[in-house]
């Protein structure tokens, strides 16, 4: 077959470099990705299809090699497992390619395209939704660091077939190669069909063999190297590789894969699943919308207007690029937030809260966890802030705090007519005066502050900084579901952006001070909550219950979490605080905490927050936020 190499312009070179970088970034993180965009992109430039596939695969194996070496340095690669699966994947690639050729000969190009798209949609719908669901469950288990080996993997690990057992360090156990070979084969088959074998290889290693997510994605790079090298030899033997294209893509992708690999050292395992699941679902949509085009080309079911067909194909390609962009954004965001978190951890390493509880020294008052000297009481005079006003003054009275009462006027109404604004101002002033009077009647010193602004949370943050506030007290609006998601709430924004603790009080919340509950999860945020609760117990003569939530599907954690609760209870008791512990079981930690609080008649829930913002929060939400929305009593969210 006589094929011509295309002339490369600067625009094409830059485009391939950039797509190569983004694809490399995603590959470095989840072990695969990028190929599904690069092949069609090269074909759009006029590169013959077989040359596009050949050049793509020729950039893949050196990229995978560099990525695998990098991640091996972090101890994430199981070379033996990668080689065993890689060799069987190679066989899968050869057979998958033959099936493809047979379908193309029998049904033509449209038939082949329909086959590829259908495989894409079916496989990615099943695997993608499962991976995303698992990531979601991991996150809400309250311990996103831990991965449990699933029941299927446990069963496969328990089966012993003499003569076929092989030890793999990623699994930490022997497993029969009669299981790894079919998995590798399926990975190769899928790689030959949809160009992204990792979409089946990584989930298979995680869910069927019991390999941790980070190790599975790193080991996939070894498989990709073996498959890529075999594929390159095959295509280069036929003279189809345009090495210029491959090396331009490689130039960008090696920058990306290094960065993606570094990113894996900063993130929690669930994020690998998030990136993979989101990519799979977006790629599924991309392939799904062109199925009608291929059906029409085969004269099956209906005919399609040529313009509509072109539009659907263009839209499919745009969604592919979008998928890669979204994957890369999540990776970069994970790297950035993980890096900042790491810096914060290093700064706090010598001041863990457990230490604070054990060692009462002259410096203890400097600890931010239990200091409530300056309160910012946010009020709008409505029924929603009535509970906050009442409990804020009560809190200040007991903890001997100074109160700054704040009202914000002009919220969301930049073009508010002057008479209306004046009326609002008068009402706010009257409300602040009323609060000041109520505070002084119980001996609490109070200053009132009136601010004008559109974004209430920004005004609150400004006052928080101005007065070096220790605790912000505010009410809770009744928004939930779609409204909450679309509009957000001031409370939600404050949870994400405020550096100080928040006390959220529903309007009908019971008076604080009799029964406190603190929720811990083994993190330093939970420890901070326990330290703050311990401090509050010295102000109120209340009972304190320390709880933690264990999900039903993680029974192994139960004993570990019980130890954690007992240790916290002991530390509190050593400090002269009467406390009891309880391990709660439930799939939804927020609902479990709120239900326990209601059942025990708790009047204040104290908890920490991981303080996620932006993309992380949009993807995963926040347990503290959910508790706030579900609980009937006040919630103190300890931040630092």
């Amino acid at each position: 077959m006589e094929l011509n190499f295309i002339d490369l312009g600067l625009t094409n070179i830059l485009f391939l470099f950039i797509v190569g970088f983004v694809g490399g970034l995603v590959s470095g993180f989840i072990g695969s990705g990028g190929a599904f965009v690069l092949t069609p992109a090269m074909m759009n430039m006029g590169v013959p299809a077989i040359m596009a596939v050949a050049s793509n695969i020729c950039h893949k194996f050196p990229k995978a090699l560099v990525g695998a070496v990098k991640r091996a340095k972090y101890g994430q690669v199981d070379v033996k497992l990668g080689l065993v699966m890689g060799v069987s994947a190679e066989v899968g690639v050869l057979i998958g390619a033959q099936i493809q050729e047979h379908i193309t000969e029998t049904f033509g190009k449209a038939g082949s395209n329909l086959y590829v798209s259908t495989v894409f949609v079916v496989v990615l719908a099943i695997v993608g939704s499962y991976v995303l669901r698992d990531a979601w469950k991991m996150y809400y288990s309250g311990n996103a660091d831990k991965e449990e080996v699933g029941p299927v993997a446990r069963w496969i690990q328990s089966i012993r077939i003499p003569g076929t057992m092989m030890y793999f360090k990623a699994i930490g156990a022997e497993i029969s190669v009669l299981f790894t070979i079919p998995l590798g084969f399926a990975t190769g088959m899928l790689a030959a069909t949809i160009a992204v074998g990792g979409f089946i290889g990584v989930p298979a290693m995680i869910y069927l063999l019991g390999v941790p997510s980070l190790m599975a994605s790193a080991t996939e790079l070894v498989i990709a190297f073996v498959m890529g090298l075999g594929g390159t030899i095959k295509y280069a033997w036929g003279g189809f590789v345009d090495i210029r294209l491959a090396m331009i893509i490689l130039a960008g992708s090696l920058f990306g894969i290094q960065l993606g690999a570094i990113g894996t050292t900063y993130v929690k395992p669930y994020l690998v699943k998030v990136v993979m699941g989101v990519l799979m679902i977006l790629v599924l949509f991309s392939r799904g919308i062109v199925i009608p085009v291929y059906l029409a080309e085969l004269n099956m079911l209906f005919t399609l207007d040529p313009n509509t067909a072109t539009w659907l194909k263009d839209a499919s390609f745009v969604i592919l690029i979008l998928a890669l962009g979204v994957g890369a954004t999540i990776v970069l965001h994970g790297l950035w937030s993980g890096y900042r978190e790491h810096l914060r951890e290093l700064a706090l390493v010598t001041t863990t809260t457990a230490g604070v509880m054990r060692m009462e020294t002259a410096l203890t008052p400097l600890s931010p966890f239990g200091r409530f000297e300056r309160l910012l009481l946010v009020t709008d005079g409505s029924e929603f802030s009535s509970g906050a006003a009442r409990e804020g003054i009560n809190f200040a009275h007991v903890c001997k705090s100074h109160v700054y009462a704040l009202s914000v006027v002009g919220n969301g109404n930049e073009a508010l007519a002057m008479p209306v604004l004046e009326k609002e101002r008068q009402q706010a002033l009257a409300n602040l005066q009323h609060l000041k009077t109520s505070a002084s009647q119980v001996g609490v010193s109070c200053d009132s502050v009136l601010r004008y602004g559109v974004a209430v949370h920004e005004e609150i943050l400004t006052e928080m900084e101005n007065h070096r506030i220790d605790l912000i007290v505010m009410g809770r609006r009744g928004r939930s579901g779609l409204t909450q998601w679309l509009l957000g709430s001031t409370t939600t924004k404050m949870l994400g952006q405020a550096h100080t603790s928040l006390l959220i009080v529903p309007k009908a919340a019971p008076a604080i001070g009799k029964r406190l509950l603190v929720a811990i999860d083994g993190s330093r945020y939970g420890d901070a909550a326990a330290a703050a609760a311990g401090h509050l117990m010295k102000c109120w003569q209340a009972s304190l219950t320390v709880v933690t939530v264990v999900t039903e599907d993680q029974p192994k954690q139960s004993a570990e979490m019980a130890d954690l609760v007992n240790q916290t209870v002991r530390l509190l008791q050593r400090d002269g605080i009467a406390a009891e512990g309880q391990v709660i079981r439930g799939d939804n930690p927020a609902a479990a905490i709120a239900a326990t609080a209601t059942a025990k008649g708790i009047d204040l829930i104290v908890m920490g927050t991981h303080g996620r913002t932006g993309l992380d929060k949009w993807l995963m939400g926040s347990i503290a936020e959910r508790v706030i929305h579900l609980s009937e009593c006040a919630v103190l969210v300890v931040k630092f």
């Binding site: 050196p62 070496v69 340095k73 390159t232 490689l250 090696l254 690999a261």
Partner: protein, 80 residues
Amino acid sequence: MSKSVTHTQIVSYTLLFGLTSGMLYFLLYWFEDLILEWSKRGGWYFLVPIAIAFTFSLVHGKFTGHFWDLLGVKAKSDNS
């Protein structure tokens, strides 16, 4: 990379591998026609693209690794 590598060494490595990588890409551009001619022949000439890919991955891979290191983008470690 070992912890004892100094900033000067990182700069030196980045420059060394960066220049070598740049030179390799220049050679690929300069001998473009000859390399494509060999690639097209197929058969045992398959070694040409394979050898090029391995060489570039080694040199450019080292350069990109040192590049991020130089910018301070490093993997998480307990004492970083």
